[in-house]
Amino acid sequence: MVSWLDCWFADQLIIRAGALSLDSEVAVISGPSGVGKTTLLRGICRHNQLLNPRLVFQEPTLLPWLSVTDNLRAVCREEGLQKHWLDLFDLPQVGALRPGQLSLGMQRRISIIRGILAKPGLLLLDEPSASLDPENIERLIINIRVASRESSIPILVVTHNPIDFNDLEPSYYQLVGRPAEIFRSTLSNRIRGSKSSR
């Protein structure tokens, strides 16, 4: 179970206090752009310190002056573990490269590895599929599934496009209203249906 307090931004209440249960490996929170999804993730980070949460930012915050290996070493010095996760994510050759030499999709996937290597109790992904083409989204979903199964870390994703994550069979939540509140979503079947009919 994760909870959060009222989230404010510039003297405005954006999100009401709430909680959700992590009863599946992956939970997806969706909501329209500007509803406060990133604010919610920050609120969850602040309020659940005992869970040791790690946020993987929408804009990859890999340090551009360091190689991929050095970026991962900043949170985990175990080289074997770094190599293990780079192999699992099908990125065995990128260790010596710097983030600016990689595509956005690769940077996102390495950011997820960095998040996992920090050994969190909860991994929060902020719009991981945004601005990616379908091929990269597919790779990302495969990697998130691997991450979830291999690490047993609960993963919470916020997105404005929940259909991208349908293959992970997550529990769905929706963030609606102003100030926003969270509701368990019954959209999953409808999303599944719409995806299979595409």
Binding site: R54, F57, L63, A74, G100, S103
Partner: protein, 249 residues
């Protein structure tokens, strides 16, 4: 680029040669006469002795000014309260004429090496501090947030996040600071030391030997330019090579 710069410098020397030829004056010797004096002074060891003395003062004074400036600039950049209180101080020292500081230090501490170095440190620290303060204020908030959420230690923050973002400002401070420091050191030496390029310039000013004045001044300028080409620029290009990385997709 390098080829153009070399040709440009050769043209400058030729212009100097032609101008001095037409001037026909002891007050305006040509590059050949100055070059002969440089060789003469380097052969008898005088040039190296005074060059070494000035270099030592420049690096000791600039090293201290740089260290103080980085600390002060970082503190002012990070803390609005400190900035509000102490920015006027930095600004005051920034605008204080170097000559005034040198004279005050010599009057207060006597004609000593400590006074000479202190004068430069007091005069140059604010310049470094301003550069570093501006750099700290332009830190990317997202890296700060990453450091906070991923609980990086203070040492990791400084080493992995702050210093790389400060590098362009540190190099600007290094370049401008070093070039201004050695010019002030010459004044310091001229006013109150018995060694160094400034002292030699003062000596040959009294003897009205312009070729010797130019020989000493030029040799120091060449040495400083060599430091820029051999040390500063390669190091800068190496540590900032990541800025040239392009996006593949």
């Amino acid at each position: 680029m390098r080829f153009t710069a070399t040709i440009s410098l050769v043209l400058l020397v030729i212009t100097w040669m032609v101008a001095s030829h037409f001037a026909q004056s002891d007050a305006f010797p040509g590059p050949v006469a100055v070059g002969e004096k440089m060789i003469q002074e380097s052969m008898n060891g005088e040039l190296w002795t005074h060059l070494g003395a000035t270099f030592t003062r420049v690096f000791v004074a600039f090293g201290c000014a740089w260290a103080c400036g980085v600390v002060i600039g970082a503190l002012l950049g990070r803390s609005d309260a400190l900035d509000q209180w102490f920015w006027p101080w930095v600004n005051t020292f920034l605008n204080m004429p170097a000559l005034v500081v040198i004279v005050i230090c010599y009057l207060g501490l006597g004609m000593t090496e400590l006074a000479a170095v202190l004068a430069v440190v007091v005069n140059k620290t604010p310049l470094i501090a301003v550069n570093v303060r501006d750099g700290v204020r332009q830190f990317e908030p997202r890296y700060e947030e990453f450091a906070s959420i991923y609980r990086l230690s203070w040492i990791q923050k400084i080493r992995l996040i702050w210093i790389p973002q400060l590098e362009p400002f540190l190099f600007t401070a290094l370049r401008t600071g070093l070039s201004l420091t050695w010019k002030i050191i010459l004044v310091v030496e001229l006013l109150g030391r018995s060694s160094g390029i400034g002292f030699q310039i003062h000596l040959y000013f009294q003897l009205f030997e312009v070729d010797m004045i130019l020989a000493y001044a030029l040799s120091f300028m060449i040495a400083m330019q060599l430091i820029e080409w051999i040390v500063v620029r390669p190091v800068e290009q190496h540590v900032q090579r990541w800025r040239k990385d392009g996006q593949l997709a």
